[in-house]
């Protein structure tokens, strides 16, 4: 990629091609972001049908948020995310490994892939609505459990802290494990078969092969999965919102940060919502910085691309 001097200078085309992206980002993300930050320093809300403010109040919104239950909601968000993510990544790794392992002779691979990916397509709101009715105290799940004789009393899933949290986690797991499986499968397939063959000749068993070859080689994709999942987790909203009707019941133990933000947006408290947004923005920035550092040793764009390259080279 060393353009020769006599060649035409194409650099303006670079600017032209990336212009729409940046223009669009500037208008629809940057301006709103600045606006949000600005109003976070104001007292500004809607009271009934009257509008109060904006009055400049400095850092007051930030301070009162620190005094609120914000950290509790951050904890909730983290817990809900972990409950869903751990089984998701474990199962996905297992499945991906199985699918690419020819020796297992998995029947109906295509069918299974289609089925496990299916829940990912269902809108979270409809899925949550469905779970809400199915897991209600006198709902279908309880009727089934009782008719099977597994429980004498209906289980109050949504009435207990861990019942609700587990349901949210379970739904996130169901919706995402298929997607992760397929991502990881692609990554594993990208590993050169020669390496696997060599390992087999060296007498590696499946576990050794998985832990010392597959896992290290798909690390960039794992990092990608982790990052996207963290961002998704931080933004968790639809499922707990609809499952608990925006209340995060019981005792606000399943109230996530975005639900908290939403309740301020709903009461049209622009100032408070702005301050909360800024906190969220900072947190997501920090989180991702750490994850990048952890998994890529500071190589921001190199390793993922390298993995892809390896994969493509196999193909070509």
């Amino acid at each position: 990629m060393k353009p020769k001097r006599k060649k035409i200078d194409y650099s303006k085309w670079g600017y032209i091609f990336i212009l729409p992206f940046f223009l669009c980002f500037f208008i629809f993300s940057f301006i709103p972001l600045m606006d949000t930050i600005r109003y976070s320093f104001f007292e500004y809300y809607r009271s009934g049908i009257k509008e109060i403010g904006p009055n400049f109040i400095g850092m007051e919104n930030y301070v009162s948020l620190l005094k609120s239950d914000m950290f509790k909601y951050a904890g909730n968000t983290l817990i809900l995310w972990i409950i869903g993510f751990i089984p998701q990544i474990v199962i996905a790794l297992m499945l991906a490994e199985w699918f690419v392992d020819a020796r297992l002779k998995i029947h109906g691979t295509q069918f299974f892939k289609v089925v496990i990916y299916l829940p990912n397509l269902i809108m979270a709101s409809a899925f949550a609505m469905l779970f809400f009715t199915m897991f209600s105290t006198n709902g279908p799940i309880n009727s089934i459990l009782m008719s099977l004789g597994w429980t004498a009393q209906p289980i109050d899933f949504l009435g207990s802290v861990w019942g609700t949290r587990s349901l949210v986690g379970f739904m996130n797991f169901l919706m995402w494990f298929g997607n992760t499986t397929i991502m990881l499968m692609a990554a594993i397939m990208g590993i050169s078969p020669d390496i696997f063959e060599a390992s087999e000749l060296d007498g590696c068993n499946s576990f050794q092969r998985f832990f010392s070859i597959t896992l290290p080689l798909i690390r960039p994709i794992l990092a990608y999965t982790l990052i996207t999942s963290i961002i998704g987790g931080l933004q968790m909203f639809d499922v707990p919102q609809i499952l608990t009707n925006g209340q995060g019941t019981p005792d606000r133990t399943s109230m996530t940060l975005i639900m908290f933000l939403n309740s301020h947006l709903k009461s049209k408290n622009y100032g408070m919502a702005g301050a909360l947004s800024v906190y969220l923005f900072i947190v997501s920035g920090i989180l991702c910085f750490f994850v990048y550092r952890m998994t890529n040793n500071g190589d921001l764009d190199g390793s993922k691309a390298a993995a892809k390259k390896a994969k493509r080279e196999k193909r070509g």
């Binding site: 990336i18 496990i116 947006l265």
Partner: protein, 281 residues
């Protein structure tokens, strides 16, 4: 002999696990389907494993309810998701190509910038976004749901990686020698090469947009512009006049059936697209 033993048991274990997982995935849809075929009265009596005969009545109840314009909602969702997927993948590929194929002063900065905003949750700008589009006169319109998808950092990232691994610059040079303009090169050479990546990302974008609830709930005001997730969400706040569980289940079913159909038709393509790299060997 030695290696067949453990593999045999692993294979059985794998099959059992897969069947259980598939059962979990399908079970809920089955219950949904069964409940959608039963009347409110039937549902009152408790759960049944067998479908009832009330499906068509429920369907016509859903179709004729003006306060939940489901068909209209599906149409809106199709429009928004389809256009979003199209412009999102096109412009992401364009941006990725711009950063990949050209050298310019701000290249590194631009790339780093996009990587940094990759992590920005959409919700943090929601408030400003709402005020902005209100000022621009786009409140209660479908446009703000479509246009911003031009700037999708994660799709850009995917495209960039893909280009890096599958577009040799020599191809571009060759096109230039043939006298092809830069835009033509992009449209007629680069785009076809990135087709698999575009297909995958188009589907992800489509699904993401179809299922998006947060932004449309803020932006959309009038009934005839509502997308499916908003309509579904209003069900949660059912009113005593509308409290017909059979209808609610049917509505959820209607909301997810189109996407499942599309998926079943394209599933091979989707999964093959994601795993394209390895299968070829």
């Amino acid at each position: 002999m030695k290696s067949k033993g453990p593999n045999y048991f692993r294979s059985i274990f794998a099959h059992v696990t897969l069947v259980i997982l598939s059962f979990m995935c399908l079970f809920f849809f089955y219950i949904l389907f069964v409940n959608a075929t039963r009347s409110h009265g039937d549902l009152q009596k408790g759960f049944s494993a067998l479908p009832g005969a009330y499906l068509f009545k429920n369907l016509s109840n859903v179709a004729n309810d003006g306060s939940f314009p489901m068909l209209r909602g599906i149409g809106n969702s199709l429009l928004v998701s389809g256009l979003s997927a199209a412009i999102c993948t096109y412009f992401s590929a364009l941006t990725a190509y711009g950063l990949y194929a050209y050298n310019f002063k701000l290249k590194k900065a631009a790339f780093t910038f996009i990587m940094a905003i990759l992590v920005m949750p959409t919700q943090v700008t929601a408030m400003g976004f709402l005020r902005l589009i209100t000022n621009m006169g786009m409140y209660d319109s479908l446009l703000p749901l479509i246009i911003p998808s031009i700037a999708s950092p994660s799709v850009f990232y995917f495209m960039y990686s893909y280009l890096e691994s599958s577009l040799p610059m020599s191809l571009v040079e060759a096109a230039r020698i043939d006298g092809s303009g830069e835009f033509r090169t992009f449209n007629s050479i680069v785009l076809p090469i990135t087709k698999p990546a575009i297909a995958v990302q188009a589907i992800f974008t489509f699904v993401g947009s179809w299922n998006n609830y947060f932004v449309p709930a803020l932006v959309i005001q009038s009934k005839e512009k509502m997308t499916v997730p908003i309509l579904i969400a209003t069900l949660r706040g059912a009113d005593y006049m509308n409290f017909d569980m059979g209808k609610i289940y049917t509505m959820i079913m209607v909301a997810i059936v189109p996407i499942i159909l599309v998926y079943l038709f394209l599933s091979k393509y989707i999964i093959a697209g994601v795993t394209l790299g390895g299968v070829k060997e």
